[in-house]
Amino acid sequence: MLLEKRFRELLDAAPDAIMQVDAEGRIILLNRVAEDMFGYSRDELMGRPVEALIPQELHARHVEHRAHYRQQPMTRTMGSGLALEAIRKDGSRFPVEISLSPSESAEGFRVTAIIRDTTERRTAEERLRKVQEDYTQRLAEANAELEMTNRELERANRLKSEFLASMSHELRTPLHTIIGFSELLAEKLEGPLNEKQMRFVQHIHKDALHLLELINDVLDISKIEADRLELRPEAFDFTALIAESLASVRSLADAKSHILETTSNVPTAIEADRLRVKQILVNLLSNAIKFTPEGGRIGLEARVQDSFVVVSVSDTGIGIPAEEHESIFEKFHQVGATTKGVREGTGLGLAITKRLVEQHGGRIWVQSKPQQGSTFLFTLPLESAERKNQGA
């Protein structure tokens, strides 16, 4: 009796429902959890076929399973157990996981079933799945929104560039008249001008040319930002291009009594967009001239190092404080803003120069201290990057 009491206590202490059925599938043993789980009393279940606890539509199949199990009995643990649906006395259904173990005794074949109600786990899984779905959905929405914002930004950027390009066209048309007629007047082909009239006409002409330069800069930066600036690489004599660039800034340098010095040691032809490289050189040279007080020294040096041309443009000018060595290459940054110096131009020159150098596959940087002059250095690959990519 004591043994049976202990056995009963052990059985009822288990967290899962435990049942035993005989060879015919009749319930011959169950614990309290089983009573609670299925909503039957012990008396109601004892001797009933176990199919009473299985939904009607699965009865036939369950009987088959049982017969099969009878022939090939083996222990199925909970982990590899069957995921099934069970039915309570009140007809409600719930998910269960069942593990089976067969035993043969004097009283015949028996199967012990341990049944776990997995409703909570299912709910938790369901909740987790829902959270995941929710999260995925929100992520997709955020992505879509981001994509739309990106597209809008791209569109706005394109419109801005188109606007700038068309503005630049519209601005050049009246400048055509201003520059042309002032040049015509200064040629005095239509009659003489007195000294003062001549000076006035030259003011108009000079500032109109300056305005043209600003418009060209704005157009350049708008093309660069629209990624429409195409390089047209060709092989050319770098030393000749240096001479050409120096010639085009010589009058500016002479006006401020600067000395222009140059050493070029580039024996081979380089492959790059000749006009754009000239633009880089002229930009750096005119900056040097502009930011150097009268009677300064402007030096241009070019040499080959590895597969690059290294060019330096140095001056004896006002210099640039270290904290501005990066920002001077940004748009609309002007050294004149913080250093007492000349303020003219668009503040786009160095930004354009940097983009042109980088588009060629080179880099640009500055070495300078205030009052000790500046040296701008840039590199250009000897061979055009585009050509190299084509494998030619």
């Binding site: 519209e170 050049r172 008249t177 042309g180 007629f181 043209l212």
Partner: protein, 120 residues
């Protein structure tokens, strides 16, 4: 004396080119739009045409397309004049049959040189 036709919808632009070319000893005719340019060209048979690309209605490309179809204009030098400075514009103009290309604002010496080159 060579005959030069200048087509530009801006009268100031036409006057500028006319003044420069007349000083250089040429006879200048004007047209203020594309259609007028075609009519004038057929009438006067110029030695050189300077065409503004951007004109309302028939633009410079439209004019050159019509003219190049005429046997008389197969080899007439035609200069494109444009205030646009986009890369590729020059190639496009040359492909359309222009023989010269000048951007606005013009530099007078550049205009003179291009005209003399094409009339030589």
């Amino acid at each position: 004396m060579k005959k030069v036709l200048v087509a530009d919808d801006k009268d100031t632009g036409r006057e500028l080119v006319r003044t420069v070319l007349e000083k250089a000893g040429h006879e200048v005719f004007e047209a203020s739009d594309g259609e007028a340019a075609v009519v004038e060209a057929l009438r006067i048979q110029p030695d050189l045409i300077i065409l503004d690309i951007h004109m309302p209605g028939l633009d410079g490309f439209g004019v050159i397309e019509k003219l190049r179809r005429e046997a008389a204009f197969l080899h007439t030098p035609i200069i494109a004049l444009t205030a646009s400075a986009m890369m590729g514009d020059r190639e496009r103009a040359m492909a359309a049959g222009f023989t010269g290309y000048i951007t606005k604002p013009i530099r007078l010496d550049a205009l003179r040189a291009e005209v003399e080159r094409l009339l030589a």
